[in-house]
Amino acid sequence: MFPYYTLKNLFFVEIIGRHFYLPNSFYIPLALINAILIYNLAKKILDRKLANITLLIIVISPWFYYLSVAHSFYLFLLFPVLLITLGLVNIIKKEGNFGNLFIILGSLIAIYSSVLFLPLLTLIFMAIIFLKIVSFSNLKKPIIIILLFCLPLLFFANKNKVGFINSFKQESKIFLDPGLINSVNKYQGAAEANGLKIFSRISENKYLFYTEEILNKYLSQLVPETYFTPKYKLLNFSFSPPIFIGFLIPFFYGLYLSLKKPIIAKVLLVSTILTIPSVLAKDMVSLNRLVLFSPVLFLIISYGLIEIYKNRKKIVFRNLLILTSILVIFQLLVTISDIKLRENSRFESYFGINYEIAEP
């Protein structure tokens, strides 16, 4: 815990330098709780003794810190997602009595917090049942209870239609970008001027362009560049990556090992549904929304790192472990130094020098 708080202070204080007040007392423990939940998942799925590796990876990755400082709503949404996951793992492993309770609680918190989660969770449960990860009979009870508790939501939605539509529009901004429609008009206009109107209507219409855009965005959520480099800047200004590049080695190894097992491959496929909120964002990638997908990454990295550590007597794995360690430590030191020296200037450069954060 000590390293966590020390690092937390380094990142937190240097970035904003604000006083500690109520939302921080909620978001920082929330990030901690999420970390502990991921740690528990690692203990159940990976290795009980080496699950501390997962906690270490989370603690030294800048992602959670930046989002907790910014009071990210999706950091809060991660909590019910983790509860649901924990519940599903308990059901699959037939461990503990709280599987159904976690699923119900997590689902209700998520659905009552975000309009998007109603279709999202529907998709997730359907995928889990269709791919036979969990049988329908095991999920029948919690699904029925969730549906019953969602009935008041239908009543509220009916009474506040405009509010709910606005809420949905806030969470789904993918179709707000005028660039795509401008492209369609430009391409069709050019083709028409050259007597090729019909070809352009077939291959350059807005439906196809939107499909391509969604496909492009979906694929962008799944590439290493998004998570291991500052390509899509955290909070729109930082040079700190969400996860350090050194963890790319155990990530690839963990992914390779995971894809060899059909059941884990199916789980990974279902987990990509958690990238949908980011796909629906206006930007190509929203690291704020993608935090919902972060546990998948942390667990894959942990899996890879644990297996590398277990095989450390073999020279290849020993070298990989040393290389990972060197890269991670080096980048950690460089990032800490960079935050102290330049992050504030980048923040001012993006938000403006007179930007003030309201005090209560």
């Binding site: 970008d177 660039g179 795509l180 492209s183 430009k186 391409y187 050019a190 083709a191 050259n194 090729l196 070809f199 352009s200 077939i202 291959s203 350059e204 196809l208 362009f209 391509e212 855009e213 496909l215 492009n216 694929l219 962008s220 590439v223 290493p224 560049e225 291991f228 480099t229 500052p230 390509k231 040079f239 990556p241 590049i245 390779y256 190509m284 080096f330 980048q331 460089v334 960079d338 330049r342 200037s345 980048r346 450069s349």
Partner: protein
């Protein structure tokens, strides 16, 4: 057997004809104009053809000074036979590169057949290359990296054959590797890195046959010494400094918040470089909008077509899972291939990655074959039909879109960056120059603002077929200070036009953009001709004071 072989040859010839048509059809019209680089190569080749010297009087130069950017020698030398045959014109300048693109299809077929011993893989791979928008785009104008990519393919193929075959392949491989370095800049870093990596991974095979390696390395050093000298000690060194990653605008403005001039910035530069390196796996770059054929847009063309996404993913999986001959060499090829472009101070550029086309196309081909094998296993006929139908429609739609991008949108969007307008202007000048005592060209142009500076003197030299010996020996006048753009030879002057003063110069013909020659300041009859771009905007006005 003979019938099978004949059938195979016919199919390969047909594929090559398709590829040839797509690369040569209307090659002088699309791209709409020769770029400054093409013109420069063309005139330098013409000058060497006529006098044995470049336009600056250097005898058979190893590097062409051009406009101070020190161009590689081979593209110009390759143009000499073409110019001799077809004359000094656009076709002669572009034909050699297009021919290299067409030959690449055949070589790629032979390469795949040799490596995988499979006609299916070879045919599918060569077909995919022949219709590849990426390859077609860079085959249609004189882009040296495309020629270099063929030499890279031959060099690496020779290297692989050297590992299992006789010593002649060592010389073959070394020859084409060093030829690559005389052709384009990117391979000068890629080739040494690849050779080091490939030798390291193939050490278990080569340690018994060290004589071959000695011959290989000796040939590389002997043939490569001249170009290594000019790279590090000649003018070519200037270009290296200009394009280094540390000068990247994003790095200076966003990361270190100052100019890169200190060792303490190296750690951040290292992570910035890693970010740039990994960005080559970006889906936008691979499939959606990286080809520089249109103005920035969410949807365009990438290195591979969108319908190749499943091919690429399946290809990567097949490449990892299956036993691929010389897999480690291909991995070294990919990892070192990205290196040169990742170290430059521009965003990813599809043109600078052309030396990777064989391995990228190979992976896509492996995936296509793998998916086709899975497709054959589908038992339900209606599922099989539906899959084929949907995929077929997707392919047709994507290819139509690619056709429209390259034939319609590219000339409209990129005409200006291809210096469109100078040809028409110079041709008007050629037909009318006897009426004037002086012809003045203003190099500044641009649609959105006077933000492009071109080199009209190159277009004058090229289209007037200016005698190279005269140009080498005649007196040229330059501006008195380096900040002033002023250059004069013969009747032609290249400077900024300042109309309040220039309007009194009767008997002089002025060629400038609307920024230098504003219509509202011209009297009736002074505007003789307006040169337009393909997109309808005015490129130049041709004006004479009355």
């Amino acid at each position: 057997m003979k019938k099978d072989k004949l059938r195979l040859i016919i199919v390969v010839v047909l594929i090559t004809i398709i590829g040839g048509f797509l690369r040569l059809y209307k090659i002088t019209k699309n791209p709409p104009s020769l770029t400054g680089d093409e013109i420069s190569f063309g005139y330098s080749a013409y000058s060497v053809l006529k006098t044995g010297r470049d336009e600056y009087g250097k005898f058979l130069p190893l590097v062409f000074e051009s406009v101070g950017d020190y161009k590689n020698p081979l593209p110009a030398y390759l143009m000499i036979p073409s110019i001799k045959l077809f004359g000094l014109n656009e076709f002669a300048v572009r034909f050699p590169n297009a021919l290299m693109g067409i030959i690449s299809i055949v070589i790629f077929f032979l390469f795949l057949q040799d490596i995988f011993k499979s006609k299916k893989i070879a045919l599918i791979g060569s077909l995919m290359l022949s219709i590849s928008a990426w390859h077609i785009f860079y085959s249609r104008f004189a882009y040296e990296t495309l020629t270099a990519s063929l030499f890279v393919l031959l060099g690496i193929w020779g290297f692989i054959k050297m590992l299992k075959g006789n010593t002649y392949w060592a010389i073959f491989s070394a020859f084409f590797f060093t030829l690559t370095m005389y052709t384009a800049f990117a391979p000068r870093l890629f080739i040494p890195a690849f050779i080091l990596g490939a030798l390291a991974v193939s050490f278990p095979k080569t340690k018994k046959d060290w004589k071959k390696i000695i011959i290989f390395l000796t040939t590389c050093v002997v043939l490569g010494l001249p170009i290594a000298y000019v790279t590090f000690f000649g003018g070519a060194n200037t270009r290296l400094q200009m394009v280094f990653l540390g000068n990247d605008i994003e790095f200076s403005r966003h990361v270190i918040l100052k100019y890169f001039n200190s060792i303490s910035d190296l750690p951040l530069l290292f992570f910035f470089w890693i970010k740039r390196y990994i960005s080559y796996l970006n889906p936008s770059f691979l499939f959606f909008n990286s080809l520089d054929a249109t103005l920035p847009s969410p949807i365009g063309l990438g290195i591979l077509y969108i319908y190749e996404i499943p091919f690429f993913i399946a290809g990567v999986i097949a490449f990892i899972k299956n036993k691929i001959p010389y897999k480690s060499i291909f991995i070294v090829w990919i990892l070192t291939g990205i290196l040169p472009d990742s170290l430059t101070n521009n965003q990813q550029h599809t043109g600078r990655l052309l030396h990777l086309f064989p391995v990228i196309m190979m992976i896509s081909t492996l995936g296509a074959v793998e998916l086709y094998n899975q497709f054959k296993k589908i038992k339900l006929k209606w599922v099989k039909f539906l899959t084929a139908f949907v995929f077929g429609i997707a392919v047709i739609i994507v290819l139509i879109h690619a056709f429209l991008i390259i034939s319609v949108n590219f000339p409209r969007d990129k005409g200006e960056s291809f210096d469109e307008g100078w040809r028409e202007s110079v041709q008007y000048v050629i037909n009318n120059q006897d009426k004037y005592t002086e012809i003045v060209f203003d190099p500044v142009r641009g649609i959105d603002g006077p933000n492009m500076v071109s080199n009209p003197f190159l277009y004058v030299l090229f289209y007037t077929k200016y005698d190279p010996l005269t140009y080498q020996t005649e007196t040229k006048i330059f501006g008195e200070n380096t900040s002033e753009y002023y250059y004069k030879f013969g009747k032609y002057t290249f400077r900024h036009i300042y109309w309040p003063k220039d309007k009194d110069n009767k008997g002089v013909l002025f060629v400038g953009s609307p920024w230098s020659l504003q219509k509202e300041n011209l009297k009736d009859g002074e505007l003789i001709k307006e040169i337009e771009l393909t997109n309808g905007f005015s490129a130049f006005y041709i004006v004479t004071p009355k």
